[in-house]
Symmetry: C2
Subunit: 296 residues, 2 copies
DNA sequence: CGGCTTGATAGTCTTTGGCTATTAACCCAT
DNA sequence: ATGGGTTAATAGCCAAAGACTATCAAGCCG
């Protein structure tokens, strides 16, 4: 029964019977039969069919919600019992927005001190994708913006605040300043993240509210790429303070506070709202609460 | 898998392999094998054995908690989908403390107006038993005292307040009074519920704090029995106002307010804390919230 | 020590679940 | 239109799981 619900989750992820079957480690006919069996038990069609996958019926969507809970709880139970016997083990899957990646180490390092047998997988994703992955049980925790609070069934632990800096060469325009305004920043040719990243949308909003338009000269979804351009001394970018520090400032590259307004965004840990949590996830929440004050 | 978890729940209820198997509709070896299989999957002994059932190991208790959630959610899912198709159907299982039984009709009657296809099972139980039944998924909702708030994973909807009355014949001692004190009441030979009922324990506490001892002449777990004694005119009892009204006052039997103190206990609906709830249970909560003000 | 209760074990049979191979429906490009 | 390519359903087969009956072993109690 639970395996069949898992089939359904895979189908929701992949939107394709064959691929869903593959991720479940079964063949396509097996997955088809499994889905059909749930439909018979429920007495309703759950999947809209027609020679190819066409999405779920309303009942199907509802069953999916339940399936996420049930499958999630089942896995959590297994982990829970395993932790009772062997301490914390297994793999903790985390996804973080690119600008938060440098802060992940602040979480994983003390975590590993306490629980050396836990392995980590850390993915760089957009804030939207993170919520999606959480929902589909593909990650155990996310690190993302937490302003628009409760999007879905998640719990939130604030971690730190993003402050924005203009990254530029000391001898470039504005490079000698102690602080700059958003209006001034808007005049520069910038390297920014692509618009699917919330960081970019936040910066766009700030530029716009300063009366300027966002017209970045270069877009990328990689902070490394943005930074390597800035390092040449010929480009400028806007980055959160923490990541700018981590990437390392040289004598020639400066990170200048941007004011008017002195914008702030809160970044936090996002975990599935499940009671109790998986033990590995619970330990991550504990760690987050522990270190949050020291990051403030 | 889910069936096996259900075996485990049955075993927790019955504390006996044979009887548990019977309630699950399987034979004893089948249940034994099922339990053993979960133990193998988890890699831990869950049940303490020794020629007869001796309770659960700590890991077993933990698995039980998860099993309750998972099995409960699975049933809720089935009900949920069924409700989407056929409207609300099925059986709603309620347990209430004896003194609250007359109020159940205030809930079931409007409920039935809206959802005529739902059938009811209403049990009279002690407040302790109600929490136990809720925990073990044997009832969908309870009606009980809600003072010592969150005992376990439940949600609560206040319904009304119990006020205490002395039930006695008009020509018996105190029978002509407009109100009496607890100290006075303590002097009478009373018919009260048995001490396993919380109502009795509350009354005992009130009598004690009035400096008197509780020495009921007659104890029973049935309100009907208590009332039938009072009706003879030779006995007296202490009952909540609502049930006294329902049982019917005659010209000779009076319900006299008891003061010093004018004690009050809140009675409420208690449902499993599950998100979302079973649709039939959710409808009951809606109904409870609707009628609560009119009972105040 | 012997009968009774309770849970485990053995042996048999049915059901379920998974696989491969094939078919049917549809999309689309020629 | 028509034929190739894709995608899900169906058929047929086999292995594994699950459930039942019958029996056994360990305690318990008189």
């Amino acid at each position: 029964m639970i395996d069949k619900l898992d089939f359904l989750l895979a189908l929701a992820r992949e939107k394709h019977f064959g691929r869903a079957a593959e991720t479940c480690g079964v063949t396509q006919p097996t997955l088809s039969a499994g889905v059909k069996q749930i439909e018979e038990q429920m007495g309703v069609l759950l999947v809209k069919r027609g020679s190819r996958f066409q999405g779920f019926t309303p009942e199907g969507e509802r069953v999916l919600e339940w399936a996420r809970r049930i499958v999630g709880d089942t896995r959590a139970m297994r982990e829970d019992i395993k932790a009772l016997r062997h301490g914390l083990t297994g793999r903790l899957r985390i996804a973080a927005i690119p600008t938060a990646l440098p802060m992940v180490a602040a979480l994983t390092t003390p975590y590993r001190e306490r629980h050396p047998h836990v392995q980590f997988t850390v993915l760089s994703r957009t804030s939207i994708e993170i919520l999606d992955l959480l929902e589909n049980l593909e990650i155990d925790a996310g690190i993302s913006y937490i302003e628009n609070e409760p999007v879905g069934r998640v719990n939130i632990v604030p971690l730190y605040q993003e402050h924005y800096r203009l990254l530029t060469s000391a001898d470039a325009p504005l490079g000698d300043r102690d602080k700059v305004t958003w209006t001034e920043v808007a005049q520069l040719p910038l390297c920014l993240l692509t618009p699917d990243m919330q960081n970019r949308r936040i910066i766009d909003r700030l530029l716009k509210s300063a009366g300027a338009e966002s017209r970045p000269t270069l877009e990328s979804n990689s902070m490394i790429l943005l930074y390597s351009h800035v390092r040449t001394g010929r480009w400028a970018s806007v980055m959160p303070e923490k990541i700018a520090q981590t990437l390392g400032l040289t004598e020639t590259i400066r990170a200048i506070p941007i004011v008017e307004p002195n914008a702030v965004q809160t970044i936090g840990l996002v975990v599935p709202r499940r009671e109790p949590m998986m033990p590995t996830t619970a330990a991550l929440v504990t760690e987050a609460k522990r270190i949050a004050p020291s990051l403030a």
